[in-house]
Protein backbone atom coordinates (compact mmCIF):
# COMPACT_ATOMS: atom_id res chain seq x y z
CA UNK A 1 0.00 0.00 0.00
CA UNK A 2 1.79 3.16 -1.02
CA UNK A 3 2.05 6.00 1.42
CA UNK A 4 0.78 9.02 -0.41
CA UNK A 5 -3.01 8.39 -0.72
CA UNK A 6 -3.78 7.46 2.89
CA UNK A 7 -6.34 4.63 2.99
CA UNK A 8 -8.95 3.90 5.69
CA UNK A 9 -9.75 0.22 6.19
CA UNK A 10 -13.29 -0.36 7.55
CA UNK A 11 -14.12 -3.84 8.88
CA UNK A 12 -17.94 -3.83 8.59
CA UNK A 13 -20.24 -6.36 10.25
CA UNK A 14 -22.50 -7.71 7.49
CA UNK A 15 -25.66 -7.38 9.66
CA UNK A 16 -25.38 -3.70 10.56
CA UNK A 17 -22.48 -1.55 9.32
CA UNK A 18 -22.37 -3.13 5.83
CA UNK A 19 -26.12 -2.49 5.45
CA UNK A 20 -25.63 1.10 6.70
CA UNK A 21 -22.96 1.60 4.00
CA UNK A 22 -25.36 0.26 1.36
CA UNK A 23 -28.07 2.61 2.59
CA UNK A 24 -25.67 5.57 2.41
CA UNK A 25 -24.96 4.58 -1.20
CA UNK A 26 -28.63 4.22 -2.11
CA UNK A 27 -29.33 7.66 -0.62
CA UNK A 28 -26.35 8.94 -2.71
CA UNK A 29 -24.69 10.33 0.46
CA UNK A 30 -21.12 10.96 -0.68
CA UNK A 31 -18.17 10.25 1.61
CA UNK A 32 -14.37 10.27 1.09
CA UNK A 33 -13.37 7.55 -1.39
CA UNK A 34 -10.19 6.44 0.38
CA UNK A 35 -12.32 4.02 2.45
CA UNK A 36 -12.03 0.30 1.75
CA UNK A 37 -14.83 -1.80 3.28
CA UNK A 38 -14.03 -5.41 4.26
CA UNK A 39 -17.13 -7.52 5.00
CA UNK A 40 -16.90 -9.66 8.14
CA UNK A 41 -19.62 -11.96 9.62
CA UNK A 42 -19.40 -10.18 12.98
CA UNK A 43 -17.27 -7.41 14.49
CA UNK A 44 -16.07 -10.11 16.88
CA UNK A 45 -14.29 -11.77 13.91
CA UNK A 46 -11.82 -8.86 13.60
CA UNK A 47 -8.53 -9.80 15.31
CA UNK A 48 -5.85 -7.50 16.73
CA UNK A 49 -3.50 -8.87 14.07
CA UNK A 50 -5.79 -7.85 11.20
CA UNK A 51 -5.78 -4.25 12.45
CA UNK A 52 -1.99 -4.20 12.96
CA UNK A 53 -1.45 -5.76 9.52
CA UNK A 54 -3.65 -3.04 7.99
CA UNK A 55 -1.43 -0.38 9.55
CA UNK A 56 1.65 -2.32 8.51
CA UNK A 57 0.43 -2.31 4.91
CA UNK A 58 0.13 1.48 5.03
CA UNK A 59 -3.44 2.13 6.17
CA UNK A 60 -3.74 5.54 7.86
CA UNK A 61 -6.83 4.65 9.91
CA UNK A 62 -8.93 1.59 10.73
CA UNK A 63 -12.62 1.52 11.65
CA UNK A 64 -14.17 -1.58 13.25
CA UNK A 65 -17.92 -1.18 12.78
CA UNK A 66 -20.32 -3.53 14.53
CA UNK A 67 -23.90 -3.66 15.82
CA UNK A 68 -25.19 -1.57 18.69
CA UNK A 69 -24.04 -2.59 22.15
CA UNK A 70 -26.56 -5.23 23.30
CA UNK A 71 -27.99 -5.92 19.83
CA UNK A 72 -25.25 -8.21 18.49
CA UNK A 73 -26.69 -11.36 16.92
CA UNK A 74 -23.79 -13.25 18.54
CA UNK A 75 -24.32 -11.54 21.90
CA UNK A 76 -20.71 -10.63 22.71
CA UNK A 77 -19.26 -9.95 19.25
CA UNK A 78 -19.28 -6.15 19.42
CA UNK A 79 -18.26 -6.02 23.09
CA UNK A 80 -15.16 -8.12 22.35
CA UNK A 81 -14.40 -6.02 19.30
CA UNK A 82 -14.46 -2.87 21.46
CA UNK A 83 -11.99 -4.41 23.93
CA UNK A 84 -9.70 -5.55 21.11
CA UNK A 85 -9.76 -2.08 19.57
CA UNK A 86 -8.83 -0.56 22.94
CA UNK A 87 -5.93 -3.08 23.27
CA UNK A 88 -4.79 -2.37 19.71
CA UNK A 89 -4.89 1.36 20.39
CA UNK A 90 -2.51 0.84 23.32
CA UNK A 91 -0.23 -1.29 21.10
CA UNK A 92 -0.21 1.48 18.49
CA UNK A 93 0.61 4.10 21.13
CA UNK A 94 3.62 1.95 22.11
CA UNK A 95 4.70 2.08 18.48
CA UNK A 96 4.19 5.83 18.26
CA UNK A 97 0.92 5.98 16.28
CA UNK A 98 -1.37 7.82 18.65
CA UNK A 99 -4.40 10.02 18.06
CA UNK A 100 -6.73 6.98 18.17
CA UNK A 101 -6.29 5.98 14.55
CA UNK A 102 -8.31 2.84 15.23
CA UNK A 103 -11.92 3.34 16.35
CA UNK A 104 -14.79 1.04 17.34
CA UNK A 105 -18.13 2.24 15.91
CA UNK A 106 -21.60 0.91 16.82
CA UNK A 107 -24.23 1.28 14.08
CA UNK A 108 -27.76 0.08 13.38
CA UNK A 109 -28.49 -1.28 9.86
CA UNK A 110 -30.47 1.86 8.96
CA UNK A 111 -27.85 4.42 10.07
CA UNK A 112 -26.60 5.62 6.67
CA UNK A 113 -26.04 9.16 7.93
CA UNK A 114 -24.01 8.07 10.95
CA UNK A 115 -21.85 5.77 8.77
CA UNK A 116 -20.95 8.74 6.57
CA UNK A 117 -20.31 10.95 9.62
CA UNK A 118 -17.90 8.38 11.15
CA UNK A 119 -15.97 7.97 7.88
CA UNK A 120 -15.69 11.74 7.40
CA UNK A 121 -14.50 12.19 10.99
CA UNK A 122 -11.70 9.63 10.54
CA UNK A 123 -10.76 11.13 7.15
CA UNK A 124 -10.51 14.64 8.65
CA UNK A 125 -8.40 13.34 11.55
CA UNK A 126 -5.97 11.76 9.08
CA UNK A 127 -6.02 14.87 6.83
CA UNK A 128 -5.14 16.99 9.89
CA UNK A 129 -2.15 14.78 10.75
CA UNK A 130 -0.90 14.52 7.16
CA UNK A 131 -0.65 18.30 6.85
CA UNK A 132 1.33 18.74 10.10
Amino acid sequence: MNRDDSKIVAFCCEHSAYQAANKAGRMRLHYPDNVRIIRVPCAGRVDVQHILKAFEKGAAGVLVMGCQEGACQHLTGNTRARERVKYTDSLLKEVGIDGSRVRMVNLGPDMGQQFVAEVKEMAEKIEGEMRR
Partner: protein
Protein backbone atom coordinates in the same frame (compact mmCIF):
# COMPACT_ATOMS: atom_id res chain seq x y z
CA UNK B 1 1.84 -23.92 34.51
CA UNK B 2 4.42 -21.19 33.91
CA UNK B 3 2.90 -17.72 33.53
CA UNK B 4 4.77 -14.98 31.67
CA UNK B 5 4.07 -11.40 30.56
CA UNK B 6 5.36 -9.51 27.57
CA UNK B 7 7.99 -6.82 28.10
CA UNK B 8 7.07 -3.28 27.02
CA UNK B 9 7.93 -2.57 23.37
CA UNK B 10 10.42 0.17 24.32
CA UNK B 11 12.59 -2.33 26.23
CA UNK B 12 12.48 -4.86 23.38
CA UNK B 13 13.42 -2.19 20.82
CA UNK B 14 16.41 -1.14 22.88
CA UNK B 15 17.61 -4.75 23.04
CA UNK B 16 17.33 -5.14 19.27
CA UNK B 17 19.02 -1.84 18.38
CA UNK B 18 21.81 -2.48 15.92
CA UNK B 19 20.36 -5.70 14.48
CA UNK B 20 18.55 -5.74 11.12
CA UNK B 21 17.35 -9.36 10.62
CA UNK B 22 15.45 -10.76 13.60
CA UNK B 23 13.84 -14.18 14.17
CA UNK B 24 10.84 -13.97 16.53
CA UNK B 25 10.16 -17.41 18.06
CA UNK B 26 6.94 -18.35 19.89
CA UNK B 27 6.20 -21.41 22.02
CA UNK B 28 3.02 -23.47 21.82
CA UNK B 29 2.66 -24.59 25.43
CA UNK B 30 2.57 -22.55 28.64
CA UNK B 31 2.99 -19.08 27.12
CA UNK B 32 0.28 -19.78 24.52
CA UNK B 33 -2.17 -20.77 27.24
CA UNK B 34 -1.46 -17.56 29.16
CA UNK B 35 -1.71 -15.44 25.99
CA UNK B 36 1.87 -14.16 26.23
CA UNK B 37 4.01 -15.91 23.63
CA UNK B 38 1.80 -18.02 21.33
CA UNK B 39 1.70 -17.83 17.53
CA UNK B 40 -0.80 -14.95 17.74
CA UNK B 41 1.43 -12.91 20.06
CA UNK B 42 4.39 -13.57 17.73
CA UNK B 43 2.35 -12.03 14.90
CA UNK B 44 1.38 -9.03 17.03
CA UNK B 45 4.93 -8.34 18.24
CA UNK B 46 6.33 -8.70 14.71
CA UNK B 47 3.77 -6.26 13.36
CA UNK B 48 4.63 -3.81 16.14
CA UNK B 49 8.34 -4.08 15.45
CA UNK B 50 7.87 -3.65 11.70
CA UNK B 51 5.60 -0.64 12.26
CA UNK B 52 8.00 0.96 14.76
CA UNK B 53 11.05 0.34 12.59
CA UNK B 54 9.45 1.62 9.38
CA UNK B 55 8.40 4.81 11.23
CA UNK B 56 11.97 5.34 12.41
CA UNK B 57 13.42 4.64 8.99
CA UNK B 58 15.60 1.58 9.81
CA UNK B 59 13.67 -1.16 8.06
CA UNK B 60 13.73 -4.44 10.13
CA UNK B 61 13.31 -7.77 8.35
CA UNK B 62 11.51 -10.18 10.66
CA UNK B 63 11.05 -13.93 10.41
CA UNK B 64 8.41 -15.64 12.51
CA UNK B 65 8.44 -19.19 13.90
CA UNK B 66 6.68 -21.10 16.66
CA UNK B 67 8.18 -24.14 18.39
CA UNK B 68 5.97 -26.87 19.87
CA UNK B 69 7.95 -26.62 23.17
CA UNK B 70 10.97 -24.28 23.46
CA UNK B 71 12.29 -26.29 26.43
CA UNK B 72 12.84 -29.38 24.23
CA UNK B 73 16.16 -29.40 22.30
CA UNK B 74 14.97 -31.64 19.45
CA UNK B 75 11.89 -29.48 18.82
CA UNK B 76 13.92 -26.25 18.85
CA UNK B 77 16.52 -27.63 16.45
CA UNK B 78 13.95 -29.08 14.07
CA UNK B 79 11.98 -25.80 13.88
CA UNK B 80 14.76 -23.21 13.86
CA UNK B 81 17.79 -24.93 12.29
CA UNK B 82 17.63 -23.25 8.87
CA UNK B 83 15.78 -20.08 9.91
CA UNK B 84 18.54 -19.10 12.32
CA UNK B 85 21.08 -18.89 9.47
CA UNK B 86 19.20 -16.02 7.82
CA UNK B 87 19.03 -13.77 10.87
CA UNK B 88 21.45 -11.78 13.05
CA UNK B 89 19.55 -12.13 16.36
CA UNK B 90 16.79 -14.22 17.88
CA UNK B 91 13.93 -12.78 19.95
CA UNK B 92 12.41 -15.63 21.97
CA UNK B 93 8.83 -15.31 23.24
CA UNK B 94 9.18 -18.41 25.38
CA UNK B 95 9.60 -18.49 29.16
CA UNK B 96 13.10 -18.13 30.66
CA UNK B 97 13.79 -21.84 30.02
CA UNK B 98 13.00 -21.45 26.32
CA UNK B 99 15.29 -18.48 25.89
CA UNK B 100 18.18 -20.36 27.50
CA UNK B 101 17.56 -23.57 25.53
CA UNK B 102 17.74 -21.63 22.22
CA UNK B 103 20.82 -19.74 23.47
CA UNK B 104 22.55 -23.06 24.30
CA UNK B 105 21.83 -24.55 20.86
CA UNK B 106 22.65 -21.54 18.71
CA UNK B 107 25.52 -20.08 20.70
CA UNK B 108 26.87 -17.91 17.87
CA UNK B 109 23.72 -15.72 17.69
CA UNK B 110 22.50 -13.44 20.55
CA UNK B 111 19.12 -14.51 21.99
CA UNK B 112 16.91 -11.93 23.65
CA UNK B 113 13.90 -12.55 25.97
CA UNK B 114 10.64 -10.82 24.89
CA UNK B 115 8.77 -11.94 28.02
CA UNK B 116 9.23 -11.66 31.79
CA UNK B 117 8.62 -15.08 33.33
CA UNK B 118 6.58 -14.17 36.39
CA UNK B 119 5.29 -17.18 38.39
CA UNK B 120 3.79 -20.66 38.45
CA UNK B 121 0.03 -20.23 38.57
CA UNK B 122 -3.42 -20.92 37.17
CA UNK B 123 -6.22 -19.01 35.42
CA UNK B 124 -8.63 -17.33 37.85
CA UNK B 125 -10.90 -15.80 35.22
CA UNK B 126 -10.74 -15.17 31.47
CA UNK B 127 -7.40 -13.48 30.86
CA UNK B 128 -6.48 -13.36 34.57
CA UNK B 129 -3.77 -15.63 36.08
CA UNK B 130 -2.79 -15.86 39.75
CA UNK B 131 0.35 -17.23 41.46
CA UNK B 132 -0.13 -20.38 43.49
CA UNK B 133 3.32 -22.01 43.91
CA UNK B 134 6.82 -20.56 44.49
CA UNK B 135 8.77 -23.84 43.77
CA UNK B 136 10.53 -23.60 47.15
CA UNK B 137 11.50 -27.27 47.04
CA UNK B 138 10.06 -28.21 50.49
CA UNK B 139 6.28 -28.44 50.14
CA UNK B 140 4.32 -27.76 53.35
CA UNK B 141 0.83 -27.80 51.89
CA UNK B 142 -0.08 -30.86 53.91
CA UNK B 143 -0.48 -28.90 57.14
CA UNK B 144 -1.85 -25.66 55.68
CA UNK B 145 -4.96 -27.27 54.15
CA UNK B 146 -3.62 -26.97 50.59
CA UNK B 147 -2.98 -23.21 50.69
CA UNK B 148 0.68 -22.12 50.37
CA UNK B 149 1.53 -19.25 52.77
CA UNK B 150 5.07 -18.86 51.34
CA UNK B 151 3.60 -17.48 48.11
CA UNK B 152 0.07 -16.35 48.91
CA UNK B 153 0.91 -14.54 52.16
CA UNK B 154 2.55 -11.23 51.25
CA UNK B 155 5.11 -11.65 54.04
CA UNK B 156 5.56 -15.44 53.54
CA UNK B 157 4.88 -16.07 57.26
CA UNK B 158 4.96 -19.68 58.55
CA UNK B 159 3.08 -18.94 61.76
CA UNK B 160 0.56 -16.42 60.57
CA UNK B 161 -1.68 -14.55 60.46
CA UNK B 162 0.23 -11.35 61.27
CA UNK B 163 -1.29 -8.70 63.51
CA UNK B 164 -2.35 -6.46 60.65
CA UNK B 165 -5.03 -8.64 59.03
CA UNK B 166 -7.88 -6.36 57.92
CA UNK B 167 -11.61 -6.83 58.44
CA UNK B 168 -13.09 -9.41 56.07
CA UNK B 169 -9.88 -11.47 56.09
CA UNK B 170 -8.00 -9.08 53.80
CA UNK B 171 -4.20 -8.75 53.72
CA UNK B 172 -2.53 -5.84 55.52
CA UNK B 173 -0.07 -5.23 52.69
CA UNK B 174 -2.62 -5.35 49.84
CA UNK B 175 -6.28 -4.79 50.88
CA UNK B 176 -7.47 -6.37 47.60
CA UNK B 177 -5.91 -9.74 48.41
CA UNK B 178 -7.27 -12.32 50.86
CA UNK B 179 -5.02 -13.10 53.85
CA UNK B 180 -3.64 -16.61 53.15
CA UNK B 181 -3.72 -17.55 56.82
CA UNK B 182 -7.39 -16.62 57.20
CA UNK B 183 -8.12 -18.89 54.23
CA UNK B 184 -5.98 -21.64 55.83
CA UNK B 185 -7.82 -21.25 59.15
CA UNK B 186 -11.23 -21.53 57.52
CA UNK B 187 -10.29 -24.61 55.51
CA UNK B 188 -8.72 -26.39 58.45
CA UNK B 189 -11.80 -25.48 60.45
CA UNK B 190 -13.96 -27.16 57.80
CA UNK B 191 -11.77 -30.26 57.93
CA UNK B 192 -11.72 -30.22 61.74
CA UNK B 193 -7.89 -30.06 61.82
CA UNK B 194 -7.56 -26.76 63.72
CA UNK B 195 -4.94 -28.31 65.99
CA UNK B 196 -2.41 -27.74 63.19
CA UNK B 197 -2.83 -23.98 63.76
CA UNK B 198 -1.47 -24.27 67.32
CA UNK B 199 1.78 -26.00 66.36
CA UNK B 200 4.90 -23.83 66.15
CA UNK B 201 6.92 -24.26 62.95
CA UNK B 202 10.67 -23.60 62.84
CA UNK B 203 11.96 -21.17 60.18
CA UNK B 204 12.03 -22.79 56.73
CA UNK B 205 15.25 -23.97 55.05
CA UNK B 206 15.13 -21.96 51.80
CA UNK B 207 18.30 -23.70 50.57
CA UNK B 208 16.45 -27.06 50.46
CA UNK B 209 17.10 -27.06 46.70
CA UNK B 210 20.66 -26.01 45.93
CA UNK B 211 20.59 -23.53 43.04
CA UNK B 212 20.59 -24.38 40.21
CA UNK B 213 18.33 -27.36 40.89
CA UNK B 214 19.07 -30.68 39.28
CA UNK B 215 17.01 -33.91 39.44
CA UNK B 216 18.14 -37.29 38.15
CA UNK B 217 15.36 -39.78 37.81
CA UNK B 218 16.19 -43.51 37.82
CA UNK B 219 16.61 -44.21 34.13
CA UNK B 220 13.88 -46.68 33.13
Amino acid sequence: MIIAERKPLEEIKNMLSGYKEILVVGCRTCVTICWAGGEKEVGILSSQLKLASSREGNELSILEATVERQCEKEMVIEELRDKVQEVEAILSMGCGVGVQTIAEIFEEKPVFPALNTTFIGMPEAEGVWVEKCGACGDCMLYWTGGICPVVRCAKGLLNGPCGGTRRGGKCEVDPEKDCAWVLIYRRLEKQGRLDLMERYYEPKNYRAVKRPGRIEAATA
